[in-house]
């Protein structure tokens, strides 16, 4: 049995919009294992981003239990959750990922500084950028980079402190196919070489195609959980896995 990094059991999450209560998650169970390259898919409003936020300690569940690295998030203070995010998690967002007034190098270095790392921060940040082939972007500010380049730098920042789990919310939503694929390849390489675990919330079939595991959520519940190399069948309900003009991923997996 692989190590369980995240354990969610009977998780519910309600939002109150005026007098209306929206049940975003309705008793959801999910384990995320070390090395997963997991895509959470589902239609808009299905609860995938809500789930990602709960796993990322950005929000708290209304009911049930979410454990990250064995720690129950429900008992954690705001400060402790922030500390967990800083020390053990990496985040990649859909947009506005970087501090606009800092260069790529400074953005990466900033997270290391937040973690309290002193001497050698700059060298570490530079080496992360170079390892990911982003060395030439080091001195550029976000407005001097393309969307794809910004997202790649955001990934570099997310992984700079070697977190065990990286959460990415729609990371390819604003990218074209070529940049999206390049980003995914980079993340999968990080998973393979640095033993990191990636969890995506996504609509993008390209991400689904690259994922090793696809969890489909509908109306706040998991309707399918497919581990591609496990021999289980891929979901067939309206999940379009291939973007127009995009070649299937090179790991031999094809999802219909």
């Amino acid at each position: 049995m692989q190590d369980v990094l995240v354990g969610a059991s009977a998780v519910t999450k309600d939002f109150h919009v005026g007098k209306i209560t929206v049940n975003a998650l309705r008793g959801l169970d999910l384990d995320i294992h070390k090395g997963d390259f997991l895509a959470i898919v589902g239609p808009s409003g299905s609860g995938k981003t809500t789930l990602l936020n709960l796993i990322g300690a950005l929000d708290t569940a209304t009911g049930g239990k979410v454990e990250v690295f064995g720690q129950d998030l429900s008992g954690m203070s705001r400060r402790e959750r922030a500390e967990l995010r800083l020390r053990s998690l990496g985040f990649v967002f859909q947009a506005y990922n970087l501090v606009p007034v800092l260069t790529a190098l400074e953005n990466v270095e900033f997270v290391l500084e937040l973690r309290g790392e002193d001497g050698g921060r700059r060298a570490t940040a530079m080496s992360v950028l170079e390892d990911l082939g982003l060395g030439e972007l080091a001195d550029r500010r976000p407005n001097e980079m393309s969307g794809g380049q910004q997202q790649r730098v955001a990934v570099a920042r997310a992984v700079a402190a070697k977190p065990r789990l990286v959460l990415a919310d729609e990371p390819t939503a604003n990218l074209d196919s070529e940049n999206g694929e390049s980003l995914l390849k980079m993340m999968r390489q990080l998973r393979d070489e640095h033993d990191m675990t990636f969890v995506f919330s996504t609509h993008d079939p390209l991400v689904v195609a690259y994922a090793s595991r696809v969890v489909t959520i509908r109306d706040g519940k998991i309707v399918s959980d497919i581990r591609k190399n496990s021999g289980e069948e891929a979901p067939g309900e309206g999940v379009e896995v291939r973007r127009k003009g995009t070649e299937p991923p090179g790991d031999g997996t094809e999802v219909n």
């Binding site: 936020n53 990322g56 950005l58 929000d59 400060r79 922030a82 500390e83 967990l84 995010r85 800083l86 020390r87 998690l89 985040f91 967002f93 506005y96 990922n97 501090v99 606009p100 007034v101 800092l102 400074e106 270095e109 900033f110 997270v111 500084e113 937040l114 973690r115 309290g116 002193d118």
Partner: protein
């Protein structure tokens, strides 16, 4: 954690909306400039005023016969003035002491007659910088019927050196006093009575004219340290030779002037308050807008694990930089104005549209519309502290917003 990134981010953030930052800087700089300009003018005016009062006019302290100040009658005198002067000089804190005689007289010049005022002084004791005749070789110009005439007085009655003045008045015994005196020089003095009415003569000549022998109306004292004048006065009051006289500090003699100085301090505080409000408006507006516009960015940073205190520090540093840069620009402008005007002076009359500067008197002081601005380090510091505190105050609300901010809510908006 070092503050390198905090400083870097704060500094660069100010360049994100340059127009807004420049406007805020301009408001702060203008506020500081106005405060410094007003402070420099007021200090220039009031320091001259203060210098004149504690200089030639009142001195640091005075000795009189009781009720002289209320009555100023010629027969209320200090007797045995020589021994009284010796007693005052014996106090180690006394630097200068001089006796003076004052008496109104009628003056005749050829066919004209007019009112004037005899001021009897000891030229040697009045020639120091704070005396009535600073830098003047008065001893060679006065005595044995030779006198000096105030410039306003001389101008009004066409009195020139060499003019012979016939003085008629009442002596200390109530008899007619008269004498003929020759003007040797016209002098300008900040003491109004000397400038506009004064015929300045030696104590001996005045004593001869008014039958005041070893007598005077007041003794003017300059101490080595103005701040300790109260202690000096207390000591002198107990000296046997002075025990029947009243010894007063300048503050006791002209309390209305003290009130005026205090009023100026209050006015400067009001101006400082205006600077405070201008700076607060500039900084608070900038920081509120910046916080609102960067809500998403703050959400992202909170998501990464950045604490609200770190964000608060970032905003605070940003506000403080904005305030300090503004205050430095305002200070540079203020010092520039000071540099330009402190040599030539600034003419209030010209500022008001008049072609010539004017002279006026207030409470016995002769004043000019020409002011030499003067600034103290404490003024600059006061402005800086005010802006610094404003910067801190102006970020309270943005910081409170940040403290309540949930990362995902901030990122959603």
């Amino acid at each position: 954690m070092t503050g390198t990134s905090t400083l870097r981010i704060a500094w660069r953030n100010l360049g994100r909306n340059r127009k807004r930052s420049v406007l805020a800087l301009a408001a702060i700089a203008l506020g500081q400039f106005i405060f410094l300009a007003v402070a420099a003018l007021m200090h220039g005016y009031m320091d001259e005023f203060h210098g004149s009062i504690t200089g030639p006019m009142i001195g640091h302290a005075q000795v009189h016969a009781p009720v002289w100040l209320d009555d100023r009658s010629i027969d209320i005198t200090i007797d045995n003035v020589t021994s009284a002067l010796d007693a005052v000089r014996a106090d180690p804190s006394v630097e200068h002491v001089s006796a003076r005689i004052y008496a109104p007289v009628l003056t005749a010049l050829t066919e004209e007659g007019f009112m004037s005022f005899v001021v009897g002084v000891d030229p040697a004791s009045e020639s120091h910088d704070d005396g009535l005749l600073p830098g003047l070789d008065a001893a060679s110009l006065m005595g044995e019927g030779r006198v000096l005439a105030g410039s306003g007085f001389a101008r009004r009655y066409d009195i020139e050196p060499g003019a012979e003045l016939a003085l008629v008045g009442q002596d200390v015994d109530g008899s007619i006093a008269s004498g003929l005196f020759t003007v040797t020089q016209v002098i300008s003095s900040p003491v109004d009575i000397v400038n506009n009415l004064g015929i300045v003569m030696t104590l001996d000549d005045a004593g001869e004219l008014l039958a005041m022998y070893d007598q005077a109306h007041e003794m003017v004292i300059h101490t080595r340290d103005l701040d300790t004048v109260g202690e000096t006065v207390a000591r002198l009051s107990a000296v046997p030779a002075l025990v029947d006289l009243e010894v007063l500090t300048w503050r006791e003699i002209v309390p209305e002037m003290v009130g005026m100085f205090e009023m100026v301090d209050v006015m400067l505080l009001v101006v400082l308050g205006i600077v405070f409000v201008a700076a607060a408006a500039g900084i608070a507006n900038t920081m509120l807008m910046a916080t609102f516009e960067r809500k998403h960015e703050f959400g992202m940073l909170l998501s990464l694990g950045c604490g609200p205190s770190r964000l608060a520090r970032m905003i605070t540093v940003e506000a403080v930089i904005l305030g300090l840069v503004g205050v430095v620009i305002g200070t540079a402008l203020g010092l520039g104005l000071l540099l330009i005007t402190q040599q030539t002076g600034l003419d209030y009359a010209a500022l008001g549209g008049a072609s010539d500067s004017y002279e006026a008197s207030y409470k016995g002081l002769h004043l000019s519309s020409l002011v030499y601005p003067r600034l103290y380090a404490s003024d600059v510091l006061a402005g800086m502290i005010a802006v610094f505190l404003t910067a801190l105050l102006s970020v309270v609300w943005p910081i409170m917003r940040i403290a309540r901010m949930e990362p995902m809510e901030a990122m959603r908006l």
